[in-house]
């Protein structure tokens, strides 16, 4: 696969077309229909959680939120190819991957709902929190990969970055380190065409992001990020190769951020409706649904039931997240392993003030 799709050939791996037909059986992943259906369900689940987050934000019950709409196949397909003990190092827009790895919707909602309990990701194994400073996580991923190799664990690391993120120095250092150390790592760039308002063509003069891998001695591949079968297939092959001692691999998923950058962004300022409509045609969930429909594995009624069930589950998780208390001590407790006396006193001082405030009559 990596020879045929060498970035120098400017080819993009695609397996499923927009109407749900298999157009590239050679690279059809070894997944049963049941597994593909399972993937569809995860994508649906992630999409509902995502849409609900946006609506909670609109109701003023959640803070700034970055919609994942349209990127479900790119996130899920890559994460689904991991084994349990492998590591996942997030950026911040791969919700489906987090959920698949065991992060609860409650935690996700706590995170975007402004609570540190939500960046512990306590319910998932071998994962680190979302990373806001763009690109910096890729170096952490390489460090984890080195440690796995050092400990002779046969596991790999998969990390995410956006198209904009590939401009940061950290990303280049990470690819370079990964190559020099021959580290067991797969980089996934979700190229959703924009970094806030800045289009991909303003980030790099290179003809693809995948091609950047070559300069560091890595392999690269460009895949249709809205085609679950392609993202899974590429990730599966990459992970296998890296696990067996191959050089690190960069997967560029060509996708599209159907929504705004975050709930505070207004995409009408920088992109055209026509462009958005073209990408709606390529919607990853619609596509996989069409495939399942062809295989008689999907019917409307079942889907509706599933959606209702997911909505209920997700609403319950939100209710729990909303109830999470935030005592004053939370601010201090985790700054250090051993809290310095000075810091402890700052909390006590503040409590004194709060007690005093209670006793005052404020007009």
């Amino acid at each position: 696969m990596f020879t045929e799709y060498d970035p120098l050939h400017d080819k993009m791996l695609q397996i499923l077309d927009c109407s749900g037909n298999i157009i590239n059986p050679k690279f059809m992943p070894d997944l049963s229909l049941a597994q593909i259906k399972e993937a569809y369900k995860w994508m649906l689940y992630a999409r509902i959680a995502d849409i609900k987050a946006v609506s909670y934000q609109r109701q003023g019950r959640m803070y700034t939120y970055p919609p994942n709409l349209g990127q479900e196949a790119s996130a899920l397909g890559t994460a689904m190819a991991l084994e349990k003990e492998d590591w996942l190092v997030p950026a911040y827009r791969e919700l489906a991957a987090w959920l698949y790895r065991g992060v609860s919707v409650k935690e996700v909602y706590l995170f975007w709902g402004g609570h540190e309990e939500g960046s512990k990701f306590a319910s998932a194994k071998n994962i680190i929190p979302p990373c806001v400073p763009i690109g910096s996580q890729t170096l952490h991923a390489v460090g984890i990969a080195y440690a796995l190799k050092y400990k002779k664990q046969n596991n790999i690391v998969l990390t995410y970055i956006g198209d904009g993120g590939t401009s940061e120095g950290d990303f280049h250092e990470a690819m370079n380190y990964a190559g020099v150390w021959h580290a067991p790592i797969v980089f996934v760039c979700q190229n959703n065409q924009y970094a806030i308002s800045t289009p991909r063509k303003k980030q790099t003069a290179a003809r693809s992001i995948a091609i950047k891998a070559l300069g560091y001695g890595l392999k690269g591949i460009q895949v249709d990020g809205n085609d679950f079968l392609a993202t899974y297939s590429a990730a599966h092959a990459a992970i296998k190769e890296v696990r067996e001692g191959g050089m690190p691999i960069l997967i560029e998923c060509i996708t599209y951020r159907q929504g705004a950058h975050t709930t505070s962004d207004d995409p009408t300022r920088y992109r055209e409706k026509e462009e958005e409509e073209i990408w709606l045609e390529r919607d990853p969930i619609k596509r996989l649904r069409a495939y399942l429909q062809q295989k008689q594995e999907w019917n409307e009624e079942e889907d509706k039931k599933l959606q209702e069930q997911y909505e209920k589950e997700i609403e319950e998780q939100f209710a729990q997240a909303e109830k999470q208390p935030y005592p004053l001590s939370d601010i201090f407790q985790y700054m250090y392993v051993e809290t310095p006396e000075n810091l402890r006193k700052q909390q006590i001082e503040y409590e004194k003030f709060l007690n005093w405030k209670e006793t005052q009559k404020w007009q």
Binding site: T64, P133, G164, S167, R269, Y270, L328, N342
Partner: protein
Amino acid sequence: MAVMTMVQAINSALEIKLKEDSNVLCYGEDVGVEGGVFRVTENLQKQFGEDRVFDSPLAESGIVGTAVGMCIAGLRPVVEIQFCGFVYPAFNQILSHVARMHNRTRGRYRMSMVIRFPYGGGIKAPEHHSESMEALYAHTPGLKVVIPSNPYDAKGLLISAIESDDPVLYLEPKRIYRAIKQEVPQEKYSIPLGQAKIVQDGHHLTLISYGAMLREAQKAVVMAKKEGYSIELIDLRTISPIDKETIAQSIRKTGRVLSVTEGPKSFGVGAEIMAIANEEAFLNLEAPPTRLAGFDTVPPYPRGEGWYFYPPERIFYEIKKLMEF
């Protein structure tokens, strides 16, 4: 005169300088088409073209490092870093070059740039969007640090910053980007760097603040007045170089000083003010010079903000303690 928010006042200063001086350029992430995520550079690209106002790739070290080169070649870049928490990739450039090139080259190359960025919390933003780390820059020899507290000052100070031949870090208190509207002249005027402003005369206690906290301090001054305390309120406006003379004179008069800042307390700007009180007004002191500042913690995620960004009552509480000392 026109009524402006701080965002509009900054935009107006940029527009004036872009019009007046073809060496002035503005760039940064989403600065061009979008006009910046806070719209501070709105319409500037349309007006001045893509070679003067443009989107940079997503790389802060690149933004500041290229600005160093532009200064060397005689331009006057005004660059934007999108949020206070994202300056750090550019730290190497700022500390190693922006702050030192002039000295290193014995005055041959001037770092006539402005690095603008929104700072401070209180808008319920995600992690890394709320820090108030001005002390880091103020601690760095070779940099000037400016923080306006209202639209009028924002415009006048930015014009001076752009005209300064030394590098200026211009921190914009985003909490009050749109919260205060003020009459601001449409034409050019400037406010000199390095001069604090006495916002209100008083004789019992000197209250020193800047940026978004100045507004909170003003509210506390009103509370204190009800108790019969006369507070002298000083707006630093320029953090570095700090206006020692105005601070010292006021403390010599009142004998009491309270600084009110947002960032972490230890080793912060407040500590510098305390040192000035001791060094320049020791014999006039009636109460221990006192700092009110943020906890020595990171700003919490939005749900904890209510604990971290203290209310005017907290300032009043400290004023009362000092008055009753």
